[in-house]
Symmetry: C2
Subunit: 459 residues, 2 copies
């Protein structure tokens, strides 16, 4: 089944899950369709300008050909081709020569490769593609799952701390069970877990109809729900009440999450599974934010371990995804066990550029050469890269060899080479992108060694 | 007349203009009410928690007292006091000792003081308060004026370049006349004019009723207007299609603005008025954007001068308001005659913090000491200040003595001292804040001299 759309948006996520391939008329490398399909490991042809869709008639035309629901088309994601009719497909196998080359790459490379994974299924996929750990678990994806979002909404709509705590107690066992499963899959490998990041209003429904339904379900008056929804509205959600700002103003949310993580780690420890949680605080702009969140994390982690009579190794670190955090990394390093560069948000704030809104001018900029490249596809070495270099150099002056990774999905070969050059400990991206990242990491290592050799020879 | 509101929003602007004073129940130093009142030079008490307003009844209560429309209250903006009844008022006069002290301050200080002014009336006020030039004319404020917004909306709603050019031709003479008036007031003093900055949807109405009215006025089908309005919607307008991104994708807009500026300058030149326009390109993230906009500006400026047979001195510079521009200032300096640090936007992007949305957590942060201060009130020396220092140092290595100012309204004494310390040419803020800025500038100069003296003595 192939999903054919003018362009996709977050509401298409169900259809994208169901589809084997995705075809859109608009968009490019960083369009919603391309990014999500890449994460899902699905074939996608985005921005096929010749495609015209008539949603009313449920038909689409490509040049002189019109096809309708049920007709067969075949996509070639590598070449961006749409073929009318069925083409026999081969399931790629990561075996034989492919496996040999990747084995060689792993032997050569001196930079780690992890995967971004939000579920136990993702974690298994990550291992299959050679991940040496999870570089990013987005806990909010667990909040969105069916049967849970109800409790999350209850939490958001509560008027007071008590109400929020009650709702959070319903979410706690679900989060704990997820972490238990993930830890079991990743036995002995590090798992970086980011505490809740997006603004709360992302969990509330968008239309009055949906709101009405929920109000009825929850036995809350519609107007109250509507007022709360309106009160949570933000002009610039990207720069709003999110990340650690949520954890600081509603401490009970992060407290529940840390408890779920440490509970899970202690429980699996009793089954001889080695959990290595790296608890990560998002959106730090000042060291004081991390200091507060670290204190909270350590307090709860120690409580949970005491309760279980078990010792678990855990780290507390932070995302570096805001320019100010990169500029003041020397102040942050003493309080952080590790950094993970969130290059998506770091690119957005360094450029003053929202990825969701850039579609109106960024393609034109790239086409005309005003920007050398789309900075969301490959890391901008000059600007974003300078901030990363400053943060790394200044922090390692204080903490030699400090663990630092990147989890912003920029694991294309050029970015991997850059990450290697500036001394990151690992890169992390979607499981399906790992084979290329492993190869690129080996190439970067060899390239550096060869340069080193040449420079030694010429000295 | 005093405007009493729970909090104010942009729609209250008419009421704020009409009012002599403003009283709000919510908000602080950087709330909408406080910021706008400061700009208007009006008395404001913001965040009076004891105040409860019943909009339906048109009454307000303060403790045991209830007052209604028509009752007298008096505000003391300095102390944040609300006095029931009428208190005899004195109009402050900038004369006598006050004038003497400011004269001394002007003799001592070695950093310039300019005003932000959008209209000829503002410009006159600026001179009265001692401005040595205008540091920021926000041309979009001219777009919002009555009788003009119609033409602006026509421009935005046009489907093609031709349609936009036609609408822009209606705006051109209005903008030109504004500039003529401002140049006449500021005869011989520099006037920094920022080309269109905000996203276009800010000019479109928000409600369906208003949209319907405009559709009728313009003879455009409602659904077309609605679709265009929806198409212009942005998730994060602050990081969206604005500033030079508009000028690059719709060159006809900036071309019209440059033509209006240079037309005005040439016309007043014939009346022996000396216009010194400094044309400023907003929201640069990469030198290529400025290069393109500079070429366009010079091309049109030369055309207009040739047409009039007049030579006018003009500069082309840029805002430094995005972290990347500050980081790469050494690349930008060769193409810029001057910089103006837009410390509002630079603070927003450096902190990843929207001023419009910060109200939900920033007051808590400041109260708990998580942030040392509200970075929108006084410049954040450590983070934003570091970016400014880098930009200044790296650029002046290439262009010694390059003209650089600040136009972000942070002209409190502490910020003025910082601006002096890092070597800015001038500060610019609301006319009503200039006397304090002039005094602070003199104090900063003296302080530095004294420190210099001490260090010489101890060497």
């Amino acid at each position: 089944m192939i999903l054919v759309r003018t362009e996709t948006s977050p509401e298409d996520i169900g259809g994208m899950h169901a589809a084997q391939g995705i075809l859109t008329a608009r968009g490019g490398m960083t369009s919603h369709a391309a990014v999500v399909a890449r994460g899902m490991g699905k074939c996608c042809v985005a921005g096929c300008n010749a495609l015209h869709i008539d949603e009313g008639q449920k038909t689409a035309s490509l040049g002189a050909h019109t096809f309708r629901e049920g007709d067969f088309i075949t996509l070639n994601g590598t070449k961006g081709e749409v073929v009318l009719g069925q083409v026999p497909l081969v399931q790629p196998e990561l075996k034989g020569d492919f496996e040999t080359i990747l084995k060689w790459a792993d032997e050569i490379r001196d930079i780690g490769v992890r995967a971004n994974a939000d579920t136990p299924a993702d974690a298994r996929m990550a291992l299959k593609f050679g991940a040496e750990g999870i570089g990013l678990v987005r806990t909010e994806h667990m909040f969105f799952e069916e049967g849970r979002v109800q409790a999350v909404r209850e939490m958001i709509l509560s008027d007071d701390t008590e109400g929020r705590k009650k709702a959070l107690q319903k979410i706690l066992p679900m989060q704990r069970n997820d972490f238990i499963e993930i830890f079991k899959v990743m036995d002995g490998l590090p798992v970086t877990i980011r505490l809740l990041d997006p603004p709360l209003h992302e969990f509330l429904p968008k239309t009055d109809e949906e709101l009405q339904e929920i109000a009825a379900d929850m036995g809350v008056p519609f107007h109250k729900l509507q007022a709360r929804n309106k009160a949570l509205h933000e002009f610039n959600p990207m720069l709003g009440h999110r990340g650690c700002r949520l954890g600081i103003t509603y401490p009970e949310i992060y407290e529940m999450q840390v408890e779920a993580i440490m509970e899970a780690a202690c429980r699996v420890a009793k089954e001889k599974v080695k959990a290595i949680p790296e608890i990560m605080i998002p959106l730090i702009a000042d060291v004081e934010e991390l200091r507060l969140m670290r204190e909270m994390t350590v307090r709860i982690a120690e409580e949970v371990q005491k309760r279980h009579g078990v010792k678990v190794r855990y780290d507390v670190g932070t995302m570096i995804e805001i320019a100010r955090a990169a500029l003041l990394a020397h102040e942050i390093a003493p309080v952080a066990d590790f950094y993970s560069f969130g290059t998506n948000d770091l690119t957005q704030t360094t450029y003053g550029l929202s990825r969701d809104d850039a579609g109106r001018f960024l393609p034109y900029y790239v086409e005309k050469g005003i920007f050398e490249q789309d900075p969301f596809v490959s890391i901008d070495r000059k600007g974003v890269g300078l901030l990363m270099r400053m943060a790394i150099t200044n922090s390692r002056k204080i903490k030699k060899g400090m663990k630092m990774g990147i989890c912003g999905e920029q694991v294309d070969p050029v970015s991997v080479e850059f990450c290697h050059e500036i001394g990151l400990t690992y890169v992390s991206g979607s499981p399906f992108r790992l084979p290329v990242a492993r190869l690129a990491a080996a190439q970067a290592t060899l390239k550096k060694k060869m340069k080193g050799g040449v420079s030694r020879a010429t000295v």
